[in-house]
C-alpha cells in the first residue's frame, strides 16, 4: 500500500513543474528492485568461525598487524603495502605487486567482511583463511608461520595485544599462531565498511516516499539505475546491498596469464579450497556447530567454473580502478563499453545468456556510468589505532 502511494506521489510529482524535471517515474516493481540494494550500512559483520571477530581487542590487534611489515619474509611488505587506505584499500595498479609481479588485480577491502567466498577465485571460505594466503605466498609477503609466531612472542606490545585478544599468551604452535594472527587481521578488515552514498539517500527516499529527497538524485543517475535493474539486467549478479551475489561468473574477460598459461578462475579456486588445511571443514573453525561450513560442504565443481571469477561488489567502484580480475579495463567507462560490446563468441551458455552485448547508446552508457559513480563516497578520515596495551 505504501509503495502504491509512493508511485502515486511520484506521478503527482511529475505533474508539478519543478519536480517533473528532477524525478523519473518509478513503478512499484522498480521500487522493489531498488530497495533490494539497501539499506546501507548493514549491521557489523560477525564471523562465527573467528573467535575474535567483532571484538575490540581483536580488531585493534589486527589493525596493528595490518601495517607491520615484519610479517613478511624480508620485513619490507605489509598488508598495507598493497591494501592502501588512501587508495580505497587497493593499490591503484592494474595487477598486484608484492615481492614479485602478480597475475591478478589487488581487490579493494571495502565491505570484505560480508563476503562468503574470498579472492577472485573463491579459494578461501573465510576472511581469516584468505588472509593467510598472501602472508605465505612467496610472490606476495613470503612469510612463514614460524616468523609470524616469533614476532607475536618476541614483540612485547604485540604479545600483550595477543593475550588481550585471545585470552592467553602467544604460546601456541606456530601454525595456530599464524591462524590467530590472520583472525585478528580479519577482524580488522571486517570493520572496513564503505560510507553511505548518493544512491543510498535516493534509495531510502524512494522507499519512504520522500519525493523531495528523491529529487536530489540526478536524472542521469536515475536513468542509469533504471538500466541497471531493467534492460541491462546487471542486478542479476550485482544483487543486494553490496551489489554482488557473492558468486562467480564468466563475463568474457580473457583468462590467459601469459602465452600458454591460463588462470582457471573458480575451477582452480574450488580445488585450492578443498586442499586447504585452513578451510571451514578443518580444525581452525571456531564455530563448533559447523553451520557456517554449509557452502564449503556443498560447493559443486562444474566445467563451467573455468574462467569464472568472483562478482565484485560495486560500492566505491569508481574509486578503485583498474577493473576485472586481471585489471585489463582501466576505467568505469571501459567496463560499461565491455558490457555493451562483449562478443558472444567469448561467452559460453546453453540457454539464454546472462551476459550479452547490451548495444548501449552513448547516452545510455553515460547514464550507466553516472549511476555507478553515485555508488562512490569519500570516506571520513580514520583515527590512528589505539595502543595495544594502554
Amino acid at each position: 500500500m505504501r509503495r502504491a502511494l509512493l508511485t502515486t506521489a511520484l506521478l503527482a510529482a511529475l505533474a508539478a513543474p519543478a519536480a517533473a524535471q528532477a524525478t523519473l517515474d518509478w513503478s512499484e516493481a522498480e521500487i522493489r528492485l531498488v530497495g533490494q540494494h539497501g539499506p546501507w550500512p548493514p549491521p557489523p559483520a560477525r564471523d562465527p568461525s573467528n573467535r575474535v571477530s567483532a571484538t575490540p581487542v581483536g580488531i585493534v590487534l589486527g589493525e596493528h598487524l595490518f601495517s607491520d611489515a615484519r610479517l613478511s619474509g624480508d620485513g619490507l611488505v605489509s598488508c598495507a603495502t598493497c591494501h592502501q587506505e588512501g587508495r580505497d584499500w587497493s593499490d591503484g595498479r592494474a595487477l598486484g605487486k608484492g615481492r614479485a609481479d602478480l597475475d591478478r588485480r589487488t581487490p579493494s577491502l571495502w565491505n570484505v567482511g560480508y563476503s562468503h567466498w574470498f579472492g577472485w577465485s573463491g579459494a578461501a571460505d573465510s576472511l581469516w583463511a584468505h588472509t593467510i594466503k598472501p602472508i605465505l605466498d612467496a610472490r606476495e609477503m613470503a612469510g612463514s608461520s614460524a616468523r609470524v609466531a616469533r614476532l607475536l612472542r618476541e614483540d612485547k606490545e604485540l604479545a600483550c595485544g595477543y593475550e588481550r585478544a585471545f585470552g592467553r599468551k602467544p604460546d601456541g604452535d606456530d601454525e595456530q599462531m599464524l591462524v590467530n594472527a590472520a583472525k585478528a587481521l580479519a577482524a580488522f578488515q571486517a570493520t572496513l565498511v564503505s560510507p553511505r552514498t548518493r544512491f543510498d539517500d535516493f534509495r531510502d527516499a524512494l522507499m519512504a516516499g520522500d519525493r523531495e529527497a528523491a529529487a536530489r538524485y540526478g536524472q542521469s543517475e536515475q536513468r542509469g539505475l533504471k538500466l541497471f535493474i531493467g534492460e541491462a539486467n546487471c542486478n542479476a549478479c550485482h544483487f543486494g546491498p553490496r551489489f554482488t551475489n557473492g558468486e562467480f561468473g564468466d563475463i568474457g574477460i580473457g583468462f590467459f596469464v601469459r602465452p600458454g598459461e591460463v588462470d582457471a578462475g573458480r575451477l582452480g579456486g574450488i580445488a585450492a579450497l578443498a586442499d586447504s588445511p585452513f578451510n571451514l571443514l578443518g580444525r581452525y573453525n571456531d564455530d563448533a556447530s559447523g553451520a557456517n561450513a554449509r557452502r564449503t560442504r556443498h560447493v559443486r565443481r562444474l566445467h563451467s567454473n573455468f574462467g569464472e571469477f568472483r562478482v565484485p561488489g560495486l560500492r566505491q567502484v569508481g574509486r578503485s580502478a583498474a577493473y576485472m580480475h586481471n585489471g585489463s579495463l582501466a576505467t568505469v567507462e571501459d567496463v560499461v563499453r565491455h558490457y555493451s560490446e562483449v562478443s558472444p563468441d567469448r561467452l559460453h551458455s546453453d540457454g539464454t545468456p546472462l551476459v550479452r552485448a547490451l548495444g548501449l547508446s552513448a547516452g545510455q552508457s553515460s547514464d550507466l556510468v553516472a549511476f555507478l559513480r553515485s555508488l562512490d563516497a569519500a570516506p571520513p578520515p580514520r583515527p590512528s589505532p589505539p595502543p595495544l596495551c594502554p
Partner: protein, 133 residues
Amino acid sequence: MRLLAALVAFFVTGPAWAGCPLDLGRGAGLVIFSDHYMIAFRPDPLRIEVGEPFALVFNVCTKSGTAGELVAVDAQMPEHKHAMNYHPSIVAKGDGRFRAEGLVFHMAGHWEISIDVRAGEEIERLTHDFYIK
C-alpha cells in the same frame, strides 16, 4: 492457489494416500503428485533469499504404501540452463521423511527444482517451480 489445487487433488484421488502424513512441522508446505508418489515439502527457512543457503524438508509417500526413498534433489534456472553452484546432501529421517541440505539460489528468477524418488528399481523425477524475487 497452487497448494489449494494440490490438496483438492489429493482428497479426490481417494483413500490410497490417506496414510501419508502431510505435516512437516510447520504445516504441509507444498505438495506435488505423480501416479505413484506424493511428496510434501517445505523450505527451511520458509522464505528463500537470493544467495542464502537453505534446506528442503520432505515427506515422501507412495500410492502402493511401500517405502519411498528420496534419491536426489537439484535445481536449475531453465531459461539460462545453469545449475546451482552447490550440490545438496540428503539425510533420511525415517518414516519417509528426508532433509536436503545445502541448496542456494544465487540469482533471482525462475528456478526449477527436481526431486528424484524411488520405491524399487526405477527412479522417477518430479519437479516444482520456484520464483525468487
